[in-house]
Structures are given as structure tokens and as C-alpha cells.
Symmetry: C2
């Protein structure tokens, strides 16, 4: 039986998780290898099978292990070199950098959805949607143009919003709790209008984030966020 280290007061399932991880880390158990069964680990650690089960189940939730009913538990393939970029609200991001955030409403209107927009919203053609165009500034330098269409069914007061006090993002989060997102990062040349608003010349590309948010089974908002390539990038790491 596995010796219990003196003074190790972690719960048993955590000790088992740590043991499995250390065997993998040390290269004793390699990718694709079968590791001991729940039963075996349970006896080894002197615990009930449910306890070993929880340890292995949590590791498999974390993609460290792969479990196959009737067959066994295996070390998962090395995670591919994959990284995650987190995309925040622009106001939060600027403030987190300790800079001043300000936004300027350029346009706020009720428009008939074009065919493609109606399709994106999964609405009937010709239905009205709200449209806003906002420029966000970081220390008085334009950093984002937010070109957004909003579903009136989910955000009826959008036209009355005071964009100097709250962002579209914050409002939508409040009235239409997020249930899903689709997004896409692109490089694009700005339209002349966008270039002017961002104070860049037309030869300079933009980093564009397109984001569609879902709420209560409907499309809540379709946004296109334009950032000047010379002043903006998505970063991250671990």
C-alpha cells in the first residue's frame, strides 16, 4: 500500500491526482500508456474505489487522462501547442492598463436589416435592428471603432442608452445574459470612414474582431470591432 506522507492532510482524491500527475511528469507513464485501474489505485492508497474514481474523473475532465469504459485509463496525448487569447471589454482593458477610457457616440439609429444582416440575426428580412457606431479612446487616442447591430427584441431601450455613462457591452450584459458567443479575428484594410475615426491613414491595416453574442436562444448582437494595427494587438500567455 502507498505510504501516507507524514502531515499530508490533503484529501485522498487530491493525493491520488498529485501522484498520477507526478508519474506523468517524471515520464514513468507516457502518452497513450495505460495507468492503474481505479481498483488498483484504491488499494494502493487504501481508499474506496469512489475516491480513486473522483481523482481519475477530474483528471480526465482536465484532459490529462482519457478513460475508456471497459478498457482502462490512459495518459492523454500531449496537448498540442495551443494557446488561448482572452478577449475583454475594451473599457475594462484600458482601465486595467491604468489608462483613461472614453467613448464617443458617432451614430445611433434604427435601420432595416439588410438580407445578410437579417440572416445573421436569424430574423425575417426587412425587420428593424438598432445600430450604433462608437469610437473608444485610450488616453485620448482612438483605439477601437465599435460598429454594432443589436436585436430590439432583447434590448428594447438601446436607443435611450447614455453611451457616455455606460458601454453597449455593459448594457447588453445586464439585459441579455450571455449564453453563447461566436467570434473571429481578422486583418482588414479600413474603410475611409473607419480610417478617419481611428486617425490612421488608409494604407495601415486594422485588426478586426467580429463577435456575435447569443442570449435566450436568439442573436443579441453582432459587432465588428476595428483596431488600428499600429496601436493594438491581442496578447497572452501562460
Amino acid at each position: 500500500m502507498h505510504p501516507v506522507i507524514e502531515g499530508d492532510e490533503r484529501p485522498a482524491f487530491k493525493r491520488i491526482k498529485a501522484h498520477v500527475l507526478s508519474q506523468i511528469q517524471a515520464g514513468v507513464w507516457k502518452e497513450g500508456d495505460a495507468i492503474p485501474s481505479e481498483q488498483a489505485l484504491a488499494s494502493e492508497f487504501g481508499v474506496a474505489r469512489m475516491t480513486a474514481n473522483r481523482a481519475l474523473r477530474e483528471l480526465s475532465d482536465d484532459r490529462i487522462l482519457v478513460r475508456v469504459q471497459g478498457s482502462g485509463t490512459f495518459v492523454a496525448q500531449q496537448k498540442f501547442q495551443s494557446t488561448l487569447v482572452e478577449i475583454h471589454s475594451i473599457a475594462e482593458e484600458v482601465q486595467a492598463r491604468g489608462h483613461a477610457h472614453r467613448s464617443e457616440l458617432q451614430r445611433l439609429e434604427r435601420v432595416k436589416a439588410s438580407d445578410s444582416l437579417a440572416a445573421e440575426f436569424e430574423l425575417g428580412a426587412g425587420k428593424a435592428v438598432f445600430h450604433s457606431l462608437v469610437v473608444h479612446y485610450e488616453n485620448e487616442l482612438p483605439i477601437q471603432v465599435e460598429d454594432r447591430f443589436v436585436n430590439p427584441a432583447l434590448a428594447s431601450e438601446y436607443m435611450q442608452l447614455d453611451f457616455s455613462k455606460t458601454t453597449a457591452n455593459e448594457y447588453l450584459m445586464r439585459v441579455a445574459p450571455l449564453s453563447g458567443v461566436r467570434y473571429c479575428i481578422e486583418a482588414r484594410m479600413p474603410t475611409p470612414e473607419i480610417a478617419t475615426m481611428l486617425h490612421i491613414d488608409g494604407g495601415q491595416p486594422c485588426l478586426v474582431l467580429r463577435r456575435k453574442t447569443l442570449s435566450r436562444g436568439q442573436v443579441a448582437s453582432v459587432a465588428m470591432l476595428w483596431h488600428p494595427a499600429n496601436r493594438y494587438q491581442f496578447t497572452g500567455g501562460f
Copy 2:
């Protein structure tokens, strides 16, 4: 007691999870509200407390609920509208789309690191590094230029690598297990050389991923991955 829907053969813990989620979705239980205790849910569903426990524990792992020992279980604050982009290896990504991946080695050399490159590698100035330039094709259409510098201390056989059989990525993952990453997504105009390799004209921007990988406390590799904006974007959702 909670009625069991006819023919609902999901495990009990999943039924309980679905029930909790639907109450939150419907707005019956709001942010910060306490939800029924494990004991209450167990009786309601006619199951053991351990079963309700598993349902609530998994939801709290998913940040849907917050559990406070001695106090109760509460609906978590709405997640901030933040999204994650996963960045894969290009070969894996193309194959996942069911397309053919092929790569072409343009250059492979040993060069003296410039000052800025030496700084990025945290090496002494003038030390040698390996440099490779590879074009990746998806169905014979160029989709990525991989411009990569590699630390010889961690990948001594890099110059002997057969780039037609394996990618730099795969090799590095094998010999220098990843311990950290820093990356950055940008929009840039291509250099004439990059534009030629990607079969685009110079007026077309590129979506650029710069990635620095760490292994065993050293910088293993610094890569710049150029993608034609008209054929490539990072996407995701949940």
C-alpha cells in the same frame, strides 16, 4: 418529489445539473441567489446526497455556482463577456478541416543573433541561433509563412530535421517540452518576400501570430506566423 420525465435516461446527476441550469436560464434563480441545498435537491430528485453533490460540484467547477462551506450554494456572477481563441498547430488545423497539408522549406540556416533577437532569447549578443523559413499549404494554396528562430541549446539537431516529414512544431514539442508561451496577434502589411510566398499582392494585409515558447527555463523558439488576411482568420466560440 421531482417527477422523472418518461424516457429520460440521463444519469441522475446530469438531470440535476440540467434542472439547475434551466432555473438559472429562466431567471428563477438569479445571480447571488442561494439555491436549494444538496440535501433538498437529493430528496427532490429522490437520490442520494452524493449524487446531488456531484451535480453541484461540477457546476461550481464550471463557475456556474459558487459553494460556501457552512453557508450554501449560490448562483455565480455572470461571466464577463470574455472569449478564448485557441491557437493550434497549422498542420493539425488543416488536417482537422479534412484538407491536405504540405509544407515547403524555403531556408534553413545558422545565423548570428542580432541584438534584439539575442535579447528575445535572453542569450549573449552575437551567439548563433537556427533560423527556418517554411511555407505551409492547405490544398496547395499557401496559408502560412512560418519564420522561426530556434535556440540551439534546446534543439541541437534542428538543422538535420526533415521538414517534409515533420514540422518544426512537432520536433520542438518532442525535444523541448513546453513550459510556457507568450504570443501576440497583430495585423501587418507583408514584406515583398512574404507577399510572394503567400501569393498575395502587397496591398493585402496579413494576420500575424508571434509566439515565443519557453522550455526548461530558457526561450526555445521565437516564431512569426504570417497568414493572408483574405484566406485566414482565428475563430472560436462557446
